[in-house]
């Protein structure tokens, strides 16, 4: 069956509005939770926090968060929220697999493609709950990073950010393309989400690392504090990227295609991006840069290679006089690349994040602040840390170890008033993450696709209540089957062409899947297909079709045909199946509908069985819909 996406257009109104409805429902629950937390916060402020004076904090020696860490935490917190908002775009439920996940994995090794295929399948099967969960998880992580400025909550937030970032990097970005051919720094290598992971790790590390890395050997190799280490790693990364950019076989020196030479990757990327809808100012910028690149690709690449190399070397060596120029140069290069090549990352097509340049800039700035501020703060901060360490040694946490929880909590809040704010903020953020993640995980564990996909293609089942027309036909084994002989059974009856090359085999598979889904109820259900081909009406064709579609092992499957064309023709007319020869070279045309007939012989529903794009997602969704209807009709008293 072709493709793992649903095959629907990304702007399908039914799915998009259901997705937004889902977000709204979850949003209302989140608002309610936040309201409760606000009330709790007011209560705490009223009863506890007013009792503490600002001097208490100073007496406890609680130092302020180091500037570099704060920039990193707030920056990536905002990025996560922004990414979450982007995930709420209308195109996400249906566009993510086909426009984001699969293209990212296109040139990757087969094992990466399998991994991405797995995620695409889950996403396509559950286009409401899974995308909604991603929205809330990312918004929740962002808010958690913003609200928990320090302490254990902040580190938990950073660890969560790292873990989620790693998942996004591996499954959503196909490892940032590091295993695929032709990737480069200008296109986003090594993947924005990996930078989110690195930022998460840096935030999760103990704060004194920003002043002095206690691991001597590690510090000896990578600088004396985190800021210095970050810049050195970035420097090494820039040099590696310069090497990749300069490598002759990768085509980075080529512009537009000419004389049999393929176009350069930047030119080709810009050509591809020209086809995605985007604001005029961006498209005109891209068009003019593409024109420039067509003729000056060699010079552009030379500039990028030199710039990356110089910046990389400076960041690695960190000569004091050149740190700031290197930072400015790197930021300018990143912004230029972000605008002229990366398309701002989110405005063209189905963007999920602003790509790699903004996270890179954040890391650069963090590193720079790390080396420039740590020296000036070293004296005070060291004192602060020392004091904090001293105070921690007499912290109420240990002295209250035998006290009640409320007493301990009271003591903790009195010792550090912002702890209450951080705790409540973290609880709120965790609630947002869980409200999104729990339904998403539950949906993802269901192997059957949401019936809404089938409804989006074929429309909703049509409820009816009319007597089912009688028929008298023979099954694939040559036995007589009439409607009267099936009284007491719930029937799903459709029409299939036994030599059909396209849709009928797909419909047969949908019926087979539905039978699996209803489980033991299948004893009360009969699945019937009436042959719709006027030439190939003999039972050996029915047998061959059943064999081909692996229907021979389903005991309640009946493929019916007539002893004569007259019998068949009568069944077609009674059930409104329009069978006709098509003009030239194609299949016999027939209606693609199914009747759900109740145990009393009345038609309860008519559904459209057109398998549309013929994807597995649709098949699973349709079978889920069919199974639901069969259960509903069979269990009706």
């Amino acid at each position: 069956m072709p493709g793992m996406s649903s095959g629907l257009r990304t702007n399908n109104q039914l799915i998009v509005s259901a997705f937004h409805h889902q977000l709204l429902n979850q949003g209302l629950i989140i608002l309610f939770v936040l309201l409760i937390l606000t009330v709790l916060w007011s209560y705490l402020r009223l009863h506890f926090l007013q009792q503490t004076s600002p001097s208490t904090q100073e007496a406890l020696g609680l130092h302020r968060e180091f500037i570099a860490r704060r920039v990193l935490r707030i920056g990536f917190g905002l990025l996560w929220i922004f990414d979450g908002i982007l995930q709420a775009q209308s195109s996400m439920p249906l566009g993510m697999p086909s426009q984001v996940l699969q293209p990212a994995a296109q040139n990757s090794p087969i094992w990466v493609q399998h991994l991405v295929h797995f995620v695409s399948t889950i996403w396509s099967y559950h286009p409401l709950l899974v995308p909604a969960s991603v929205v809330w998880i990312q918004v929740g992580i962002g808010l958690w990073l913003l609200s928990a400025s320090r302490g254990i909550w902040s580190r938990y937030a950073a660890i969560t950010s790292t873990v989620w970032g790693a998942l996004v990097w591996a499954l959503g970005e196909s490892f940032g393309g590091i295993f695929s051919r032709g990737q480069s720094w200008t296109f986003g290598l090594p993947g924005a989400a990996l930078l989110y992971c690195i930022a998460g790790v840096l935030i999760a590390l103990p704060e004194n690392f920003w002043h002095n890395i206690p691991l001597r050997r590690f510090g000896y190799l990578l600088g004396r504090n985190l800021g210095s280490a970050v810049l050195q790693v970035l420097g090494l990364f820039f040099i590696a990227m310069a090497t990749l950019q300069a490598w002759p076989g990768r085509g980075s020196w080529n512009g537009s295609p000419h004389n049999g030479h393929p176009g350069g990757p930047i030119y080709l990327m810009l050509t591809q991006m020209a086809h995605t809808p985007q604001p005029h100012f961006l498209s005109s910028t891209l068009a003019s840069f593409q024109g420039f690149d067509a003729n000056h690709a060699w010079e552009i690449n030379l500039f990028v290679v030199i710039a990356l190399s110089l910046i990389g070397l400076t960041l690695w060596i960190q000569p004091p006089k050149f740190n700031r120029p290197a930072l400015v140069g790197a930021v300018v290069l990143c912004i230029a690349t972000w605008i002229s090549i990366q398309d701002l990352g989110f405005l063209g097509g189905t963007g999920t994040d602003p790509n790699s340049m903004i996270p890179t800039i954040l890391l650069l700035v963090t590193g720079y602040l790390g080396i420039s501020k740590s020296a000036t703060l070293s004296d005070t901060s060291t004192t602060g840390i020392a004091t904090a360490t001293a105070s921690n040694s007499t912290t109420p946490d240990t002295s209250y170890s035998h006290s009640s929880i409320s007493t301990r909590l009271k003591g903790r809040i009195l010792a550090d008033p912002s702890y209450a704010r951080r705790t409540l903020g973290s609880i709120g953020a965790l609630c947002i993450i869980l409200i999104g993640a729990v339904p998403g995980v539950a949906a993802a564990s269901n192997p059957n696709a949401n019936p809404i996909v089938a409804q989006a293609i074929n429309g909703a089942p049509q409820p009816v209540s009319s007597p089912a027309p009688a028929f008298d036909l023979i099954d694939q084994n040559g036995r007589s089957v009439s409607l009267a002989s099936l009284r007491g059974k719930t029937i799903a009856l459709t029409f299939l062409d036994d030599v059909c090359v396209t849709t009928c085999p797909l419909i047969a598979q949908e019926f087979r899947l539905a039978d699996q889904e209803i489980g033991t109820l299948s004893r009360k259900v009969v699945l019937i297909a009436i042959n719709s081909n006027p030439r190939f009406i003999t039972i050996n064709y029915l047998e061959a079709f059943d064999q081909q579609e692996q229907l021979t092992t389903i005991p309640n499957w009946l493929f019916l045909t007539g002893r004569s064309m007259k019998q068949l023709d009568s069944a077609w007319k009674d059930y409104g199946d329009l069978v006709q020869y098509l003009p030239g070279g194609s299949m016999v045309d027939h209606s693609e509908i199914a009747d759900i007939i109740g145990p009393q012989g009345r038609i309860r529903y008519i559904i459209n069985t057109d398998p549309g794009p013929g994807t597995r997602v649709f098949a699973s969704s349709f079978s889920n819909q069919l199974a639901n209807l069969l259960e509903k009709v069979a269990n009706r008293k």
């Binding site: 032709g182 059909c500 050996n540 070279g585």
Partner: protein, 409 residues
């Protein structure tokens, strides 16, 4: 002193980057032959019977598998007009049609395509007035001669199977088929080591004797097997010195008068070489018998073979298409006193006037002159070769209303 380890790490970083760069260079994608490439065998063909002439060829959008349909055309005896029997086929024909006949009936098999895995069969004994069904519950292989009908209405079919293709035989009504032999068993037969068969490529009948054609991996040999009533026997032959280095496929077997002609094929990237081996005895030919081999026809490897049609009185038409879209038609024919044993090459390849661009099939007409079936999407133009002017004259035009996209899943 402190800088040394830094530069050491820097050097390692560069080495890693270089390794990464060299590993992740854009490699040229391997080109595999597709169904439409010059290496595939053409399925367009025709047969002349006492009850009329039948032809199968594709129409519609020839570059798109979803919109390309094969049509079954029929010309009654003593009539100049052709009719399209699409209604009789009653299913999508994107996979192609295969036709075969004997003196009493004509059989058409619809090659499976897309999700259809078995082969519907229809047959007629009254010039297409009434049709009955057969069924081959396997996938008919995509070779020009993958279906054959014997004089006593027995049939052979080459089918695709997971472990290599196989031959199935039907003894009645074309709806009951039994496994006959597969490549593995063919290889074990006495004499097979001379040929070392790699693929079963054709089936045929000489009278009521079943024949199997194969690919030989031994250069200078062509592989045939005949059914002696109880078992298959190797009956291939040696090729003359000009073909002794070629690995040969049997791509067509045709009964002619009292003998048989076997169309042989060798392919390389640069050249397609065709030759015809012939023998006079239709009943008991065996390996020891001498085969007569024709001159060879060399075609540019970049050309695409469009059809290999047998000629009613012996010989073959071979139509190929050049890269520029033009077509070239060759005719292989024997002198009248042919099919006698001989050592020297016998039979000649003649270059005929190029048929109109878009010709999809060449049919042996009633006056032994070729007819060119020219297709332009849904339009069919039939051209006949004028014997005196050697130019092609339009003899019939028709339009087939094909539903584009009707087989698109």
């Amino acid at each position: 002193m402190k800088l040394a380890p830094k530069f050491f790490i820097l050097a390692i970083g560069i080495v890693i980057a270089i390794s990464f760069a060299s590993c992740s260079q854009t490699h040229k994608e391997t080109q595999f032959p597709t169904a439409d490439s010059n290496l595939s065998l053409p399925l367009s063909t025709s047969i002349n019977t006492s009850q009329g002439t039948w032809a199968v060829f594709p129409m519609g959008d020839l570059s798109n598998h979803f919109n390309r349909f094969w049509q079954l055309f029929y010309q009654p005896p003593n009539s100049s007009s052709w009719t399209n029997l699409v209604k009789e086929v009653a299913t999508a024909t994107n996979g192609g049609l295969s036709i075969t006949s004997n003196s009493t009936q004509t059989v058409v098999a619809i090659r499976p395509s897309f999700y259809l895995q078995f082969t519907p069969i229809i047959s007629t004994r009254d010039q297409g007035s009434t049709w009955s069904n057969g069924l081959l519950d396997h996938k008919l292989a995509t070779y020009p001669n993958s279906l054959a009908l014997g004089s006593n209405n027995e049939a052979l079919a080459v089918v695709d199977a997971p472990g290599g293709n196989q031959v199935y035989a039907s003894t009645r009504n074309l709806d009951t088929w039994k496994f006959s032999i597969d490549l593995k068993k063919l290889k074990q037969l006495r004499g097979s080591r001379l040929c070392q068969p790699t693929k079963i490529t054709a089936v045929s009948y000489l009278g009521d004797t079943g024949i199997i054609g194969v690919d030989c991996s031994t250069p200078g040999m062509f592989g045939l097997y005949r059914y002696n009533g109880s078992a298959w026997q190797f009956s291939g032959g040696h090729l003359p010195s000009d073909l002794s280095n070629f690995r040969i496929s049997v791509v067509g077997i045709d009964t002619v008068r009292s003998g048989a002609e076997v169309l042989l094929d060798n392919r390389s990237r640069n050249q397609v070489t065709l030759a015809v081996a012939s023998i006079e005895s239709s009943q008991n030919f065996a390996y020891s018998m001498k085969w007569t081999t024709s001159h060879i026809l060399s075609i540019n490897g970049k050309a695409r073979l469009i059809c290999l049609s047998p000629i009613s009185n012996g010989g073959f038409y071979v139509l190929d298409s050049t890269r520029s879209g033009g077509t070239t038609l060759y005719q292989f024919s024997m002198p009248n006193s042919t099919l006698t044993k001989g050592i020297a090459p016998l039979g000649t390849w003649t270059f005929l006037s190029s048929p109109p661009i878009g010709t999809q099939d060449v049919v042996s007409g009633s006056n032994s002159l070729p007819l060119a079936m020219q297709v332009n999407k849904t339009s069919l133009s039939i051209w006949s070769l004028n014997q005196t002017t050697r130019k092609w004259d339009l003899s019939q035009s028709s339009h087939v209303s094909i539903q584009f996209g009707s087989s698109n899943p």
